[in-house]
């Protein structure tokens, strides 16, 4: 994966959090993702297809996920439920949507998004297929730490994403 493709996602995370949540997250690194997920975390995943193919995964500790949706809605939820999962799914949808618009306009052809899926719990692993290169962008924010993981290739070469 060309790391230059990461910039639209980085910009999108900051813009989405700033615009929708009035929070400015700060990037704390950039590295290859090694797979797996922290215990008690929540992962929202969405696929991209068309001239840019790949997937975007938003990883949050459950405490960050709760704080994020509570902040967004002005609620005081204490457990991960359908509303929290739905809110994080919508966040990854908007983040991927803004990034894919950048790709579409650059390539002159529309990139399409799938519908987001959410996994949460204390005993699961996210396995990445061997040839897919995932880049992880960790962030710090006043709502807690989180990270965005992205795999993306351009044109006819499909990303190997399961």
């Amino acid at each position: 994966m060309d790391v230059r493709l990461i910039n639209p996602f980085l910009e999108s995370v900051i813009n989405v959090y700033t615009t929708m949540l009035h929070i400015t997250p700060h990037r704390s690194g950039l590295h290859m993702a090694q797979g797996g997920a922290s215990p008690n975390s929540l992962v929202a995943l969405i696929g991209m297809d068309g001239p840019a193919q790949g997937a975007v995964a938003l990883h949050l500790p459950q405490t960050t996920a709760l704080a994020t949706v509570n902040h967004w809605l002005g609620t005081q939820m204490t457990e991960i439920d359908a509303t929290v999962s739905d809110g994080i799914a919508e966040l990854v949808n908007i983040i991927a949507g803004q990034a894919k618009t950048s790709f579409s306009e650059h390539l002159g052809s529309t990139v399409s998004l799938g519908l987001p899926s959410v996994i949460h719990g204390s005993d699961f692993q996210v396995k990445y297929p061997g040839k897919a290169t995932w880049i992880e962008i960790p962030f710090e924010s006043e709502l807690g730490a989180f990270s965005l993981r992205v795999t993306c290739v351009m044109n006819e070469q499909p990303a190997e994403v399961n």
């Binding site: 809605l73 509303t83 803004q98 529309t110």
Partner: protein, 122 residues
């Protein structure tokens, strides 16, 4: 005035309800996909529809075409992550009256709602 929100995200529907309330609209019905949106549009006397694009069962653009095909002229604002110019043109050709791109500030969306209703003479 009654408004219809069509979005598969319950959280986004709550956010949109907040924007509608700021615009002075508190009578709201909700649909979680395009097909339910078309069904509710046929059952209620609506003054405004906020329509997502990517949803299961029936997309927002298909729902706009179905609503217009049924003869309704209710103002429709697309509220979506689909921000490419080609998508905007496609939605307007299908019969949408205005377009709001996610992410948005509450002020931006309230402005779109007000602008759309003024244009429609409401």
């Amino acid at each position: 005035m009654k408004a219809l929100i069509v979005d598969d995200s319950a959280v986004m529907r709550r956010v949109l309800i907040g924007a509608l309330e700021r615009a002075g609209i508190s009578d709201v019905v909700e649909a979680c996909d395009g097909q339910e949106g078309v069904d509710l549009a046929g059952q209620h006397e609506l003054g405004l529809i906020l329509m997502d694009w990517n949803m299961p069962n029936m997309t927002g653009i298909e729902a706009v075409r179905a609503i217009r095909g049924a003869g309704s002229s209710v103002p429709i604002i697309m509220v979506t992550t689909e921000a490419e110019k080609s998508r905007v043109v496609e939605a307007l050709k299908a019969g949408a009256n205005n377009y709001a791109i996610k992410p948005f500030t509450p002020e931006t969306l309230v402005g779109k709602i007000t602008e759309t209703l003024e244009r429609a003479g409401v």
